[in-house]
Amino acid sequence: MGGLAMDGYGAYVWSCFALTLAVFVFNEWRARVRHRSVYKQIEVRVKALEGRQ
Amino acid sequence: MITNERELPGLMAGFVATVKRDLLLAWKRPGDVLNPVVFFAVVSTLFPLATGASPEQLEFSGPGVLWVAALLATLLSLNSLFLADYEDGSLDQFVVSLQPLPMLALAKALAHWLTSGLPLLLVSPLVAVSFRMPAEAIGVLIVTLLFGTISLGLVGSIGAALTIGLHRGTVLLSLLILPLAMPILILGARTVSLAATNETYSAGIYFLAAYAVAALALAPFAAAAALRISYE
């Protein structure tokens, strides 16, 4: 059964799993960054409009 | 401009008028017709120059090279499908015309094929001979190019309609069309390869024909939708 070395294929197998994790994390991070930046932009504008009233 | 329904020309009249108009315009600018053909010949020449020209290599790569060259030449000519009309405003008339837009899109695609696909078909045997293609394979080449250029022109008209007037539209059009064109390329080039090595090639021809028929039936509607969207 697979151990850490995976019969010599270790680098291949583990790099794939690591890359998968990276893709998940990357997508999550990008979505959050976009959400936060959009939110902040709107917040600035809305609060400015509110302040002017 | 037609204001009275009784004066409306029939569908066929509108179709024919559009084709005639485009053919006349192409006649006045023969460069537009010749350029893709010359491009096809020149690109075909690039491959032997770059990769070596031993007879076996030529025979082996001939179908693929010719098909890629035809694909690129068609792609190049697609840019101008709607461009001239867009720039001088006649495309506006097409979009608001009482004639059904899909039919006009089909008419333009037909005229385009007559001035780019058909010349390619006629020139291809000459270039194919330089690749030492056997006679039967050349026949298959012409048939596959026939269905292939029709399909490419139709699918390409959708892409051209989507990218009218866009910044860097040329490159974008190629990027959009190429993945869609890959099955046609695969079917066309490999079918000719099979013919060149005396294997059965009929399956490829049937599929190309089916693709062309499907494109004829569906693409004009998509192109018309794309034209309307581009015009909003």
């Binding site: 059964m1 197998v13 509110e50 | 990027l175 959009l176 993945p179 099955p183």
Partner: protein
């Protein structure tokens, strides 16, 4: 039921609902992936031909499957947006594209890495799945490029919707033609078609991974679409009230 669907199509409702749904997707998804990865890496017996290298299947197959599913979601929601003029559908399509493209890239890289010990090369044109996956990536790029090229959001939505639908129709054609092309010279393939029946110890972790990936993908998509919706609706009242409300982000 139509009332419910109508409500679903409302951006503010989606925005709130998605936020609630995300943890319910991520947790089970992550658990399934954890089980699938553990069992796939350590419990499943090594393949008699490929040894331990075959374990890459546990990430390659789910990502390839998702890359396809994401494209279908993109094309279908774009179509719904175009035909029934539902703005939210367009937002879903816009959100699905980058996530789908990244899974496609993942499938391609894991496929190439898998291929290296198997075929000795980093790329095998003869493998129909890899080649189809590459063409799919080009389709994604074309879609995103078209969206980027058009400034007006509504126009970009509609134009890319036409492109997505044309692409979706072509996907089976692409698969078929690449399959035919590769069968002509019998290249090596990553996954044996119709090979010996895969035994359960190998299969269950794979199924778990597929389902787990799908759940996590759904969560990623929802998060992405939430951001997209917020941007598109930035000038509306409901967003304004959301920002001003004491709890802030809904």
């Amino acid at each position: 039921m139509w009332n419910y669907l109508h409500k679903m199509a409302s951006p503010p409702h989606f925005y709130r609902l998605a936020k609630i749904l995300i943890p319910w997707l991520v947790l089970p998804g992550a658990l399934l992936i954890a089980y699938g990865a553990y069992a796939g890496l350590f419990v499943a017996p090594p393949d008699y031909q490929q040894g331990d290298a075959f374990r890459i299947i546990y990430v390659h197959v789910p990502s390839a499957y998702l890359s396809m599913m994401a494209y279908m979601i993109m094309a279908i929601s774009a179509g719904i947006g175009l035909i029934w003029r539902i703005k939210l559908a367009h937002a879903v399509a816009a959100g699905a594209a980058p996530v789908g493209a990244s899974f496609t890239i993942l499938a391609l890289i894991t496929g190439a890495v898998w291929g290296r010990p198997m075929w000795g090369t980093w790329w095998e044109w003869g493998d129909p799945r890899l080649t189809s996956e590459l063409i799919l990536l080009f389709l994604y790029f074309g879609y995103m490029a078209l969206r980027n090229a058009i400034d007006d959001t509504a126009k970009a939505d509609k134009a890319s919707a036409v492109l997505a639908m044309v692409g979706a129709i072509n996907v089976p054609i692409i698969h078929f033609s690449v399959q035919w092309w590769s069968s002509l010279h019998q290249g090596p393939t990553l996954i044996r078609q119709g090979g010996p029946a895969i035994d359960n110890e190998m299969l269950y972790p794979l199924l778990a991974m597929i389902v787990g990936f799908t759940l996590v993908f759904a969560a990623l998509l929802l998060r992405r679409v939430r951001a997209e919706v917020l941007y598109r609706e930035r000038r509306t009242n409901w967003v304004r009230e959301l920002i001003l409300s004491p709890r802030g982000d809904g």
